[in-house]
Every structure is written in C-alpha cells, then in structure tokens.
Symmetry: D2
Subunit: 146 residues, 4 copies
C-alpha cells in the first residue's frame, strides 16, 4: 500500500510516542523503522522476557507487535489525534528462540474512526528470518488533549 501521511511531523511524533512507553524501555526495545503505514521494532533476547519453557513470552511478542501495530496506525493520523487499542489477536506460529527479533506493524485498513493493522514477528537468523507470530490489531482514533 502507498499511504500519504497527514502529519508532516509524523516521524518525530512516532519517535516521541515510542520513547514515552515505559514498557519499551523496560524491554530495551529499539525503534528501527518508520514509514507511512509501517513501523519496525527490534528486540534482543533477554532472560527477563521468557516463559517457563525458555522461549520469548507470548505477552512480550504481543506487546511488541501491539506497539508496532499501534504506531503504524499513528503514522497516518493528522496532528492532534492518537489511538487506543480496542483489541488484538495473536497467533503463535513457531517457538520464539533467537538472539534477536523483529516486529513489523503494517496498516491494513486506515479509517477515520477505526484503523486495522497487521503485525508479523520474526526470529532473526543467520540464514534468514523466521516467522514466529502474527497479529491483527484494531485501534480507535481519539482526540489528544492540548
């Protein structure tokens, strides 16, 4: 899709929104890419992000996909508007075992009131990336206060 951003300052706006997410700091997640309708986040493996079988916790995958999907929606909003996540759904496709992971959020359907984005999570490997999870996220547009 070829989207046109309505907010000329959407890149610093996304950078600022990401930086203000305490959870992304706790995870030491890194914002790697911003383009109209797409946001990419990367995350290093860490003991503190695991479930009991030694894989990345499903909630960590969901949190990073949620942030990537949510911010992908924000890239297309006019200044003064933000989003709230109404719901998301994640499928876990392969075990989350790698030293580094990539989370990509793409707008599937922008809308005035509701935006739907799709996320993909990958384990980054020497011989290529492996798809480990997918998300569909539904966001509602809200007016930001002054």
């Amino acid at each position: 899709m070829n989207y046109q951003p309505k907010n000329p300052d959407y890149i610093p706006h996304i950078q600022d929104a990401f930086a203000r997410q305490g959870l992304m700091q706790t995870f030491r997640a890194e914002l790697q890419g911003i383009s109209p309708g797409q946001v990419v986040i990367e995350q290093d493996f860490a003991e503190g992000l695991l479930q009991q079988h030694g894989g990345l916790h499903g909630g960590v995958i969901a949190a990073l996909l949620d942030t990537a999907c949510g911010l992908s929606a924000v890239t297309l909003l006019p200044a003064g508007q933000g989003i709230l996540t109404i719901e998301f759904k994640t499928n876990f496709l392969s075990p989350g075992s790698a030293e580094r992971f990539r989370f990509v959020g793409n707008v599937l359907k922008p809308g005035r009131r509701v935006t739907v984005s799709e996320g993909r999570a990958y384990a980054i490997g020497k011989t290529g990336d492996k798809l480990i999870a997918s998300m569909t996220a539904t966001m509602m547009t809200i007016d930001l206060k002054g």
Copy 2:
C-alpha cells in the same frame, strides 16, 4: 465449573512454572490463587509497564492474562504434560489506571489436545474491582521432556 485435577501435585507444579517465567519476575507479578481450572495473578502499578498515555500497556495486560489462562489449563493436566499457547485475543474494555490489578484465568473447555481458557483483568479499587480487559486463549497440550 467443578474440575477434578489429574495431577495431585498441581499446586507446587503451577508455583514452579510461574517462578520459572522470567517475565513474571521482571514485572514483579504475584501468584495469588490456584484452584482446579483457575489461576489468579496480581500486579502492582509501575512506571516501567506503561504505554504512552500513562495506562498499563496492552501487552502487559495480555502477558498477565496469558500467564493466568495458560496456568489455568495446566492445573487440569496429568503430570508430564504442559501447554503451548496457540493463540490469544484480548479486548481492552476500560483504561488500565489503578495502583493494583488482578488477572484471572478460567478454563472454559478442557480437552485432551486443546484447552480453551478465558481471562478477565480488573483494576482493583477501594469501591470494588473494575473490569478492564478480557481474553480468550487457546492452548495445545505437549508432552514435557523427562
């Protein structure tokens, strides 16, 4: 529902599985209740768990509901079996603003191969708990290695 556990040691087994989740330690989440088909987790507010609008990050809510739902399924498994989350879906119903939160996972349908659980997240308040999110989680039974 009135479920009969198949593993007589299901309570220490759940306590151990929870303790081995690095993410629950990172969050400083507390395991508060274990009964057949139900697990309850509580979580204090912390700056490091927020999204950019100052509420609990949706991914934190999903992670705690996922753990409560997954462990609720484990309470009904025979010894030697564990679960992997196939997918979950979360609806965010009210802003996650409180000093403490409760996450309850309940088995909706146990099965030999697949178990479905439902989760409820509450903001704990002085005048009562407020429902802030719901989850449906689908888990697949796996054989644990010796």
Copy 3:
C-alpha cells in the same frame, strides 16, 4: 449485569431488526428471547447448514452468534442508533451435532462508541445443553439515517 435500556421500544426494535435480516430467514432461525443486554436465538438442524463432516458449519454458528451479540448491543442503544460489527472471534469447543441449537449474546461492556458482547452456542439435548462455541464481538455505534 443489570442494564437499563435507553430506548423504551427496544423489544419491537430488535424484533424488526431480526426480521429484516435475510440470512436469518434463509436459516429459519427463531428469535426466542430479548432482555436488556441479552438476546437469545434458536435454530433447528438442517442439511443445508452443514460442513463436510456432517456438523453445523462454523460459519452458521458464527452468523447466529454474531446476530445474537449484535442485537444484544442494540438492546442498550438510544433510539436512532444502530451498530456495525467491527470484528468477531469464535472458538469451536465441541462438535455441533444436535437437533436444535441455542445462541445467546450478552453485553460484556456497553459503551458510547464501542460495545463488546460475548456469545455462547449450545447444542440442546435431552439431558441438558452442551456448550459448543463461544464468541467475542466488537461493535461500533452508528447513527441511523432518518
């Protein structure tokens, strides 16, 4: 939950909305119960509603749960407003084999802009009803044209 309807004519309004759904006529579905925040539909078994293994098609179950959930949301709307389904998710818990089925939609969280309802599908049996599917549905409020 104890909900107060805002539209004093919500019962004939729901009856009318149900009657105008061509699909409900095709299925010969029956509207069995309307109360604030809840709608109940029943459906007889029919060859024309099956999948290839002889069970009720998942899409039929989803359609009847969607109608029950959607109309449950409508029971709480003021006159002049309607809903559009943003998304729904259905879990299939047991095979849909019976002579008659019941579909119940309940509002989980009413809202000015977004309402979330939960659905339950049952196979009606001589010794009791059996839960065969669950749904979570998210609906957006719209203004109906004059």
Copy 4:
C-alpha cells in the same frame, strides 16, 4: 509461499469436500481456484444473505472465508487427514455491497498438528476489487475414518 502438496489427488479431494458442504449449496457459492496452500471461492449477491442494513451478513462473509481458509489447509494434507476449525477471527473493513464477492484463503503456517491460514474477502467491482474483510483461522489436523 511455494508449497508442495502431499496428496497427489488434492484437487478432486477439495472439490469433493466443497461439494459436500450443505451450506455452500444453500449459498450457491462457487469454487473458483485450487492451488497448493490456496483456495478461492466466489459468491453472488442474494437477498437471503443480508443483514438488516442491506449489506452481506458478517456470518456469510465468515462462513465463506472459513471454507476458503479450511480448504487451503486441506490442500497441503496427506491423504487420509482432514481438519477441524479450532477458532477464527474476522475483521470487517468495509461494507459488503457489490454484485459479486471473492473469498481467498491462504496458508500462513502449515503444521503437522495445527495449520494457520489467512483469508481476504473482496467486493468485485468494475474498477477493481475492494478489500472488505480479513480472517485468521486456526485448524487442527484429524485422521479421517476409513
């Protein structure tokens, strides 16, 4: 994705499975395409498939996407195996108003025990197709009886 079918007779097998779905006959849906990991169905507009606002009922869209997704999984199974839908989730992206619709199911992640497929629904128009809905469907492999 480039998938290799394990059942050399997968095409007549899919045709047969589609023909045995009573619901597809009720809808007069047409099987339009079968390839490894993909199934395409088309459906004409009909009064008997509508919701109360005059659009295609969400349950009809879900039923056709479910069939396309389920059969896309079947294209990759060995002979003697079938699938049961564990769960699906549908997002409704644009009103379902057109004279004809296309439903495409694609395998996202094949698996020995669980397959995940994605569906897309389109309103077919003179100036191009319009995306009206998306689905993620999770299917469990079962052994078919002799």
